[in-house]
Every structure is written in structure tokens, then in C-alpha cells.
């Protein structure tokens, strides 16, 4: 029978068991060092908790900084894409105008006399080829489409960075849990020394949703939409 079993038996059956006060004191004497050891362990462990919580806060800050850097790059990409798109539009307009000019030139050459035609025979062939060559607007249109797609992809990168907000809320939730455990441990230890109960140190500058999750599952939005639809219909 171990000490705790014996203690329970003494408490439950103090008379019938026939165990004397001396025995009880001996058990308590054996337990006290263990309790001291537990108290010291809890105190030492608790003292690490604020540091762990602070490190989690540092993680949140670091990911926010990194996210800002990524968003800077994405913004820069977007601005450059916009510049290229504008440049391509100008080139497209310019090519259309030049194409029209070449066609007019080629047509006017047909009305030239033989002597004049001989003089420009070398250029005539090239001009006719240019005039007959289909304008490459499809190619420029294709490039613009590619750029629009790249712009869409960069926007997707930016939208995926919502994960930073969501994970920082989850981390904040964990920090609150840690603080709650720390307070309970501190209060448990404080009872040994007769200290007053501590209240959790809550960071009021941060709010969070402990159930926040990063999920592309649209069912939560669908559920919200159906509730909104009900409200809209009823009001």
C-alpha cells in the first residue's frame, strides 16, 4: 500500500483501521518533500511560460513582416505588368497605324508609271509583302492575355497571404491558453505560500478568433449566404 492509499484509508476509516496519529504524521512527513519538489518543478516550469508566449508573439510579428515584404513584391509586379500592358497597347495602336500607311503606299504604287515603278521596284516587292502580311494583333492580344493571367496569379498570391492573419489569430488563441495555464499553476503554487490569487495577464491590444481556420472549403460561406438570404427574404 503506498502513502496516498494509506492516507485515504486513514481519512475514510480513522477508527476501525486502528492507525494512530503517529502513522499519519509519518505519512505527511514523507509527502512534504514530494510536495516541495512538485512546487519547485511547477515554479520552474511556470517561469518559462512567459518566454514561450513571447516567442509565439515574435513568430506572429515575423510572419507579418514577411507578408508585408511579399505584398510589396506582388504590388511591384502588378505595377510593372500594368506598365507592360500599357506599352503593348501603344505598340498595337502604332502597328495598326503603320499597317494602314503601308497598305496606302502599296496601293498608290500601283498607279505609278513604268519608269517610276522601275525606280522603286526593289521597295515595291517588300512593301507588297508588308501590306499583304496579316497584322499580328492576335499575337499582341495573346501577350496581353498572358499578362492579365499573370496579374491574376499575383492577386492569388496576395489573397493566399490571408493565412498570416488567420494563423496569427490561432497563435494568439494559444497564447491565451498558455497564460491561463500559467495563472492556474501560479495560483496552485501560491496556495503553498499563502499568496493572493493572480488574474490572467490578458493582452487587450489583441483580439482573436480561436476557431479561425485557413480553408478553401466554401461550405462556410455557403452556409452564411443561406442565412443572409433568409434574413433578406424575411425583412
Amino acid at each position: 500500500m503506498n502513502n496516498s492509499d494509506l492516507l485515504v484509508e486513514i481519512i475514510e476509516k480513522p477508527v476501525t483501521h486502528g492507525v494512530g496519529m503517529n502513522h499519519l504524521l509519518k505519512v505527511l512527513k514523507d509527502i512534504m518533500p514530494m510536495m516541495d519538489e512538485i512546487k519547485n518543478t511547477v515554479e520552474n516550469t511556470s517561469s518559462n511560460i512567459p518566454k514561450a508566449s513571447q516567442q509565439l508573439s515574435t513568430v506572429s510579428q515575423a510572419t507579418e513582416n514577411a507578408t508585408m515584404e511579399i505584398l510589396d513584391v506582388v504590388d511591384d509586379m502588378g505595377q510593372r505588368i500594368e506598365k507592360v500592358e500599357k506599352g503593348l497597347k501603344i505598340i498595337e495602336t502604332d502597328l495598326v497605324q503603320k499597317g494602314v500607311l503601308v497598305q496606302r503606299l502599296a496601293q498608290s504604287i500601283d498607279s505609278f508609271g513604268d519608269e517610276q515603278k522601275k525606280l522603286i521596284a526593289v521597295f515595291h516587292k517588300d512593301l507588297m509583302q508588308l501590306a499583304e502580311q496579316p497584322f499580328k494583333s492576335e499575337m499582341i492580344g495573346g501577350l496581353c492575355q498572358e499578362l492579365a493571367d499573370v496579374r491574376g496569379l499575383s492577386m492569388n498570391i496576395a489573397m493566399s497571404l490571408q493565412v498570416q492573419d488567420i494563423t496569427s489569430q490561432q497563435i494568439e488563441g494559444v497564447r491565451h491558453m498558455i497564460e491561463s495555464v500559467r495563472t492556474q499553476l501560479a495560483n496552485a503554487v501560491g496556495r503553498f505560500d499563502g499568496k493572493e490569487l493572480e488574474q490572467p495577464l490578458i493582452d487587450t491590444t489583441k483580439a482573436f478568433d480561436s476557431d479561425a481556420k485557413y480553408s478553401k472549403d466554401e461550405s462556410r460561406q455557403d452556409d452564411a449566404d443561406s442565412i443572409i438570404a433568409q434574413f433578406t427574404n424575411n425583412h
Binding site: 505584398l71 492577386m155 492573419d165 489583441k206 483580439a207 480553408s215 452564411a224
Partner: protein, 128 residues
């Protein structure tokens, strides 16, 4: 008419993402606030046609902001779109009872934002 948006979120990342998404769909005019208290102050001092707000924020949360806006005579009709991680049925009901105009669960897509904005704009006097 250029619609002026007030984007409210305690996360700098989210404010930037929402503002970027608004710009991508053609809305350039945006001001920002980090919580409900600051938002209502900016609404009073700078004005805004449309509020896009998070729910979980320090000082004054998004739901309290909606209630404050609705109870204010000057801004009671200002459209409010809630954009939040809170996707539980009870949360959505609470927000709708507080009279938000629409509700988006994070993470969202630019398409979802545009769709909800269009729905709200259609139901109000604001037209792009």
C-alpha cells in the same frame, strides 16, 4: 461617383489585402482603421460611403462598430460588409441582427468580394 471605402481590420496584412482587392476591381478610394473606435472616428472626421469591417478587433469590435453606426443618425444607412474568420451560424445571425448588409467568411477571393459588393451596391443608392 467614386465610392469611398473605409477598411477596418486590426491586421495590417488584411487591410492591405482588402484595399488591393478593391483596387483590382476598380475602387481606388480607400481609408483605413485598425479597430472600431478608430473607424467610427474616421467616419465622422473623413466620411466614407461604404464600410468593410473585421469582427474580432481590440477597443471596439466589428459588431459593436455596426451597432454604433446603425444607432448614429448621420451614418445609420452606411452599408457595412463584415469580413471575418467567424463562420458559425450563430455569428452570422448575430451580425445580420445587428444589420450588416452582407457577410464574407475569411479567407475570401476577389470574386467573392466583388459579388458581395455588387449585391450591397444594388440594394443601396450607391452605384459605381
Amino acid at each position: 461617383m467614386a465610392i469611398k471605402f473605409l477598411v477596418v481590420d486590426d491586421s495590417l496584412t488584411m487591410r492591405r489585402i482588402v484595399v488591393n482587392a478593391l483596387k483590382a476591381i476598380g475602387y481606388e478610394s480607400c481609408i483605413e482603421a485598425a479597430d472600431g473606435k478608430e473607424a467610427f472616428g474616421k467616419l465622422q472626421s473623413e466620411g466614407a460611403d461604404f464600410v468593410i469591417s473585421d469582427w474580432n478587433m481590440p477597443e471596439m469590435n466589428g459588431l459593436e462598430l455596426v451597432k454604433t453606426i446603425r444607432s448614429s443618425s448621420a451614418f445609420s444607412d452606411t452599408p457595412v460588409l463584415m469580413v471575418t474568420t467567424r463562420g458559425n451560424k450563430d455569428d452570422v445571425i448575430e451580425a445580420m441582427q445587428a444589420r450588416v448588409n452582407n457577410y464574407i467568411v475569411k479567407p475570401f477571393t476577389p470574386q467573392a468580394l466583388k459579388e458581395k459588393l455588387d449585391q450591397v451596391l444594388k440594394s443601396t443608392s450607391l452605384v459605381k
